[in-house]
Symmetry: C2
Subunit: 462 residues, 2 copies
């Protein structure tokens, strides 16, 4: 008892000595973070940079000429912003091309022969029918129903209606729950003889834009064409096509060409104390072809640039080397991220932290971490410093796709920036993901919170 | 010491007895709030109701035919939603009409005589010039500069450039800091002989829509015409008109007609235990004439309706009578709110709580309260129940304009719903405040958090 008593008192004494130091330190941090915020809100360039990326370059899928333009522009931009070093990192990427002339129609086989053109888009990586195919429609709610009705599938085009669960408050949960319909429906249906699949877009949008995204074929089954339809059309399927005789006519032109070389674009601010220890911050430079890729992930790209710009404008000299990384090929291969982590391993680099912004340029809500509970507690002691700028939680839950391989290679602590998710899947991978959907202040606030977190990690480590 | 020791142990004992009860109670609350959330996210009608209000009725300023249409529609809607009682409450409102043909031009008095048409709107309550007036421009940054240069004002049209401070994270702070430029510039400039005023819109929008709003004349000075210009035009003034000879030509047609009668629309769910104690929840039914009034305050109107709908759908029978109130004339008079509070006083009603939604239909962040610190602590014990739905703070800071008079008359505890504020002043009082700017899920999440707060107040009191 006495020992514990003394220990307890020593702890209190230590706390009494340390608290003013901690308080003073937090006060200094608070002042510097306010400087970051003021600099970015007054002079931020992220919004103007995003305008260039989305309007002058546009959609930039791996292997496309637009991706190469984006690399050139990013490289030049990083140089202009005053990086100590900018370099490109080659990686082999899949080269899927959509082709042109894709279309699909839903036809009612009765005396009217009513023909409805669908708002559709081929799913990324899918192989085109090249010629029009026409087959009876089989309306299926979900994979459970597919298994029950597998004997009815042969020769049909299967429509999958599995949509977002609207009751999830965070929409990424709904996306992760229904994502497998986009990625695996084609092969699951082909297994039972389907000749094509149509799926409800992974969205709760109130418009009719179709949402693309990546899929994978299972090599054991025929590689049938696969498309997504907009939400209004999906609601039409749900309301009308469960009964009656319906036919789908569709043609798509997707092709997978041989792998080609793309680049990660990497800028550095050299560390004063630990130049060989790296903090990575980034987003992915590629986007789907059918949109401007403004939220996904133009926002992450220009927030990354903005953090560099603000650090230079404030004369901030990091202790660790900060790497500003624009990853190649997140959308349909993740090859840029794999290359970055593998090159780091080959070069025996020490990666102490990596932060990714790939959930849209919306108003900040928090960060999620791949990290031990103990280290999370350290980070959570910074919450009050970030709260004034919109960060309300620092929680476990994963970094992001592009920083993931760093954890695999180094167990690097990871973080993902988590903006508000309500609007994200309205425009995700759809033609509606345009510059106009991004709010300037929300975009800048994201950069502020990310810059503040990097500053704290750089100063205190994890 | 002993007493304190025993007291401390008794407190612990009491806590040990109470904690499981409290925990159980919070668990039940958590289950019911999840039911509210699921009901609203699955079956919510707020978005569809907002579509009707904005697209079929539109802008609805006090005294306008559209305001009366909105009253009729709201009355019928409340009845359809199953209110125990719906009634209208007459109040006299100011009747300002904009007239038509307003325009303004900025002209450079040099050899070019360059004439730029301005994106402008007359400030609400301002009296029109009726005929075109043309006068030299005096560029003024703020009221301090006006005082310093008062001798230069006579016969001029004064342009005020005072804009939003971009470094405030919450945009309402910027609005409250610069609001007096819209409300008082005309009389302040008229005091020194100005013949008209032009002000920078109260916004940080990245477009050029002008933003109207209310103003007040000081009867001691001439009532000169007053207009706002869009942000791109304001930036043009700032970049070009500080020097050189510039002239403004403007004509406006605003008139203040005699006061007229409008109505508050009030629906009730009768309380089972305390039918004569009232909880008020509401927004304002009027809006500016130049926009659809979607965020301001169509969102508050349909969230109010949604809460009623959800309570009925869940069979929730409140202990206290809940009043769902759509206030008249918030924008340029607040007469509806004054009438509601005064009628409540005349009728000796007991008002235990009032909640207002008038900060847009954006994603929820919290609530601010006009309440004692002690009562705030009670409310803050509910934070964990609201957090899963987006509420991150319950703080002091005021209810809102329409519930304000209840505090004056009864010291009723007040709350204002605080959604994210980054986008609000982009569209506030401007033609861009349209249905399309509202996100369905964000709108519904607001209703969920408000409904949950009302449920907790109804159950536990304050």
């Amino acid at each position: 008892m006495v020992d514990i008593f003394i220990f307890s008192h020593m702890k209190k004494l230590l706390l009494l000595i340390l608290l003013p130091i901690l308080a003073k330190s937090q006060q200094n941090d608070s002042v510097f973070i306010k400087k970051i915020s003021d600099e970015i809100l007054r002079n931020g360039q992220a919004y103007q940079l995003l305008h260039h990326l989305t309007k002058n370059i546009g959609g930039r899928l791996a292997g496309s000429p637009q991706y190469n333009q984006a690399v050139q522009w990013s490289f030049e931009t990083f140089k202009k912003l005053g990086s100590d070093n900018v370099f490109l990192q080659d990686c082999l990427v899949p080269h899927w091309v959509r082709g042109s002339g894709d279309a699909a129609f839903l036809i009612k086989k009765d005396e009217t022969n009513t023909k409805k053109q669908l708002s559709m888009v081929a799913i990324g990586n899918s192989l085109g029918s090249q010629k029009a195919i026409t087959a009876p429609l089989l309306y299926i709610e979900n994979f459970d129903e597919l298994e029950k009705r597998k004997d009815e599938v042969k020769g049909k085009i299967v429509y999958f209606n599995a949509g977002f669960d609207p009751t999830n408050i965070r929409t990424f949960k709904s996306y992760s729950e229904s994502g497998m319909y986009r990625t695996t429906s084609a092969s699951r249906a082909a297994k039972y003889g389907a000749v094509g699949v149509v799926i409800r877009s992974l969205s709760e949008a109130t418009d009719n834009y179709p949402h693309t995204g990546a899929m994978r074929y299972n090599d054991s089954f025929p590689k049938i064409p696969a498309i997504c339809v907009g939400i209004e059309d999906a609601d039409y399927f749900a309301a009308n096509t469960k009964t009656g005789n319906w036919v789908i006519s569709m043609k798509t032109h997707g092709k997978m060409l041989p792998d080609t070389i793309n680049q990660n674009v990497i800028a550095e601010l050299k560390g004063t104390d630990f130049p060989n220890e790296y903090i990575t911050v980034g987003g992915h430079l590629d986007s789907w072809d059918i949109c401007e890729g403004a939220h996904d992930d133009g926002a992450g790209v220009v927030q990354t640039m903005e953090i560099l710009r603000a650090f230079k404008a404030l004369g901030y000299q990091p202790k660790h080397t900060i790497r500003f990384v624009l990853f190649a090929n997140e959308e349909n291969g993740l090859r840029g991220a794999l290359k970055y982590a593998d090159a780091a391993k080959e070069n025996n680099e020490k990666h102490i932290f990596a932060l990714e912004s790939d959930a849209g340029g919306f108003t900040p809500r928090g960060f999620s971490f791949s990290i031990s509970q103990e280290k999370l507690s350290t980070i959570q002691s910074w919450l009050n410093l970030l709260k004034p700028y919109g960060t309300e939680f620092l929680e476990l839950g994963g970094g992001g796709a592009d920083v993931g391989p760093l954890y695999r290679n180094f167990k690097t602590p990871l973080a993902g920036f988590i903006p508000d998710s309500q609007r994200y899947f309205d425009i995700h991978h759809a033609p509606s993901d345009t510059f106009e959907k991004v709010n300037k202040r929300e975009l800048l606030l994201g950069a502020i919170n990310m810059a503040a977190l990097i500053y704290l990690v750089d100063k205190y480590g994890i």
